[in-house]
Symmetry: none
Subunit: 243 residues, 4 copies
Amino acid sequence: MDSRPTPADASPWLPFENRRRARDEKRDAVLRVAVQLFLEQGYHRATLNDVAERLNITKPALYNYFRSKDEILYACWSLGRELVDDAIAAIDAGGGPGLARLRKLVHAYAELMATDFGASLVRFDPRDLTEAHRRIVRAAKKKIDRSFRDYIAAGIADGSVRRCDPKLSAFAIAGSLNWIGHWYQRDGASSPAEIADEFTLRLTEGIAATPDKPARGGPKTKTARKASAPGKQGRKPPRGGTG
Amino acid sequence: MDSRPTPADASPWLPFENRRRARDEKRDAVLRVAVQLFLEQGYHRATLNDVAERLNITKPALYNYFRSKDEILYACWSLGRELVDDAIAAIDAGGGPGLARLRKLVHAYAELMATDFGASLVRFDPRDLTEAHRRIVRAAKKKIDRSFRDYIAAGIADGSVRRCDPKLSAFAIAGSLNWIGHWYQRDGASSPAEIADEFTLRLTEGIAATPDKPARGGPKTKTARKASAPGKQGRKPPRGGTG
Amino acid sequence: MDSRPTPADASPWLPFENRRRARDEKRDAVLRVAVQLFLEQGYHRATLNDVAERLNITKPALYNYFRSKDEILYACWSLGRELVDDAIAAIDAGGGPGLARLRKLVHAYAELMATDFGASLVRFDPRDLTEAHRRIVRAAKKKIDRSFRDYIAAGIADGSVRRCDPKLSAFAIAGSLNWIGHWYQRDGASSPAEIADEFTLRLTEGIAATPDKPARGGPKTKTARKASAPGKQGRKPPRGGTG
Amino acid sequence: MDSRPTPADASPWLPFENRRRARDEKRDAVLRVAVQLFLEQGYHRATLNDVAERLNITKPALYNYFRSKDEILYACWSLGRELVDDAIAAIDAGGGPGLARLRKLVHAYAELMATDFGASLVRFDPRDLTEAHRRIVRAAKKKIDRSFRDYIAAGIADGSVRRCDPKLSAFAIAGSLNWIGHWYQRDGASSPAEIADEFTLRLTEGIAATPDKPARGGPKTKTARKASAPGKQGRKPPRGGTG
DNA sequence: GATGAATGAGTGTTCATTCAT
DNA sequence: GATGAATGAACACTCATTCAT
């Protein structure tokens, strides 16, 4: 048995396997493995050798796809960013009252935080990037923050959200969500969908105009909601909230 | 102008200065500089040479006070932990309804997150520590988390807090607070006290039994609350909530 | 003039030379240079830089072949051990009376002590090795000692050796031989073969059953025995016997 | 209980003890501890801190008695040398046939090899000394070797020793003896006196003019010779002769 | 496209030695 | 005489990166 987190067949370089998959596929494989390793061991402790080893290739081969270690880091982050951007774009496209949109974002963001690339967004240290990339990261984060605030402001305007400071509220909500990226573990007690459901409810009930009466579950998930009556204590985030 | 964050006179080794301060004072100076540097540049990028240089000593001199780099890291973290423990002890000693205690904790914790040693608690990576220290860290974090939950549970019992899942709520609150350690900057728009006041209000209003009517300001701070009417947009967290 | 003991062409890394020799050849070259340097300067005084320099490579390149300095030390020792083991195996395979086998061993061992890898066996300090390797070393030494004793015991049994304490006699003989590793120098007055001949004679005459009548020269060497009549003072160990 | 090899009271700096002993006494104490540590751990692994610690003093205090670490090493060696010189002087003063004197030397030398300062002579590496000291060491060793050869030559002249090559014989004998310094352990099976007796017998029986008839025991020791008939297997050197 | 081999720059750590007190 | 503190010089080891093949 192979106890490595990534099943060996995730690597397009597997020996005895067709080695002619598209370049992009290989690039993606590098990122999948890298993001995992970076999260698992931390960027500085994880060596390119580790990455290469898990891919059944050698270290210099990585340089066919990336120019440097920090470029890999950036690419990981970038993939995570795309996910958030897509989510935001979809929500924006959907329209609806501010509170609904906020809830959709919270839900999507929470789920993303439970993915490798999503967690990249908050667990990687921008100081490991080049200045150029660092600037891009800063801008992207600002944009995401903007969305939170905009939805809240819109909600206030359309009456779905109580009067409050959008900046600060966005801030508190995002902080809570970001933290998920630090504690979530695949083998934890709660599934990403469950966590997302709960956080959607909890993080918005405080600012909803009509407290306590969201349609419970907001953006529906196909999640098997394992018999937890609303209002009852049921959700179980795996570890302590202090990280 | 000296652009270094620590004013030079923070070092007991300053040339031409009285070198006879106590050993503990020097040890503390090392920690003050180290925690700063670790936060500023990240643990791995900050070298012991950097630390020593800022103290006007040489690298090996550090080994008079600490046995290894990771021991310095642990000592920094340890100091932060003491601060939290003291705060919790004081609150426990004070008694009062669950909600009041929760607010005190939120307030104290938020303020701590704006200090170097406080931020250590959430910004240092336990994987940089020895296994022994890592275990201590884990236990301490669990204990802090416990306090959040206990206060909430007590609040529910005494009627000061609405029925909710203590675990999850503690989780959301602590997540939001921890995040402060990641974005707070000394030169930001809001003072630690202001941030603490706001977070105390916002993070607990959602679960208070009688929403919207906290005595506004919870644990009073002597903070000059610069004319910001409740409900109006006044608080200014420096950067986006997405870290 | 190049005063270095190893002629430059011993290095497969010589500049402007074909660099494509086999990996094992390079590994061996490292060992050849390392053992030399370790004997010459002592393990602690010899740095990996020294080793690398003599090989026209850089220090980290050594890590392609060995994981640590002490692993190099062990590998040197290990090569020496193989030589002894082979000699013993050959003698065991050959059979013959105890005394004859003892003489063969003394002869072979003496000659080995005059080689770099042979001297490793007695000049390297096992305390520089890891515990695991140290155990192997101890076991190997015990096994060699065993052979000396067994041959003596066999000799007593078959009448070729006088009655004596095999343990102690083996001890005295081996001690004398081991010491060769400490004083022998390539540029000394006696060749390894000469030394081996003499020691074979002297160290066994005391315990031979029929004193004074070994076939003079025991295991014949093709050594040019430079006109030294038996009984006359001819052999010239380079330096004093006190090391 | 104190498990350290040297009883604590060997240190003139022991707390609560009269601290006013003579300077030389302290110097000697340093040497006693140093030689022990150097033999125990090896010169390079033993730090001056280790030495100081065992003496209940601090590292710089050592510099009151010695100018450098290698001077301590030399002083240890020097003490050992005195012991041998004294023995030789006594033997020379005593006169007697060559064989008798040789046996006295072998006996005395063997016993010395079982002492810390005696072992210094053969276990310390002269390359750790300054060039000046190294020269002294070389000269001293030559002189000792000279004595062995002289006694043998005298023995041949007076008929007590069989015709042989004095140089080589001295060499083999001394080698065997030196090796004792490498394997002797205080807690071994044989006492120094027993070892000395045995080696005196064995190492000279081969070259005695009338083999097998030494007055058994040569230079008498008061050693309790635990019932071991001559010629029978009785002596038990603790470990293998291969070091 | 991939690799084996090599490197340069750096990092924590050790330790004999010095010096002001 | 003794110490606490500091230092300089080294050293083993790591790792991202390069390059000839």
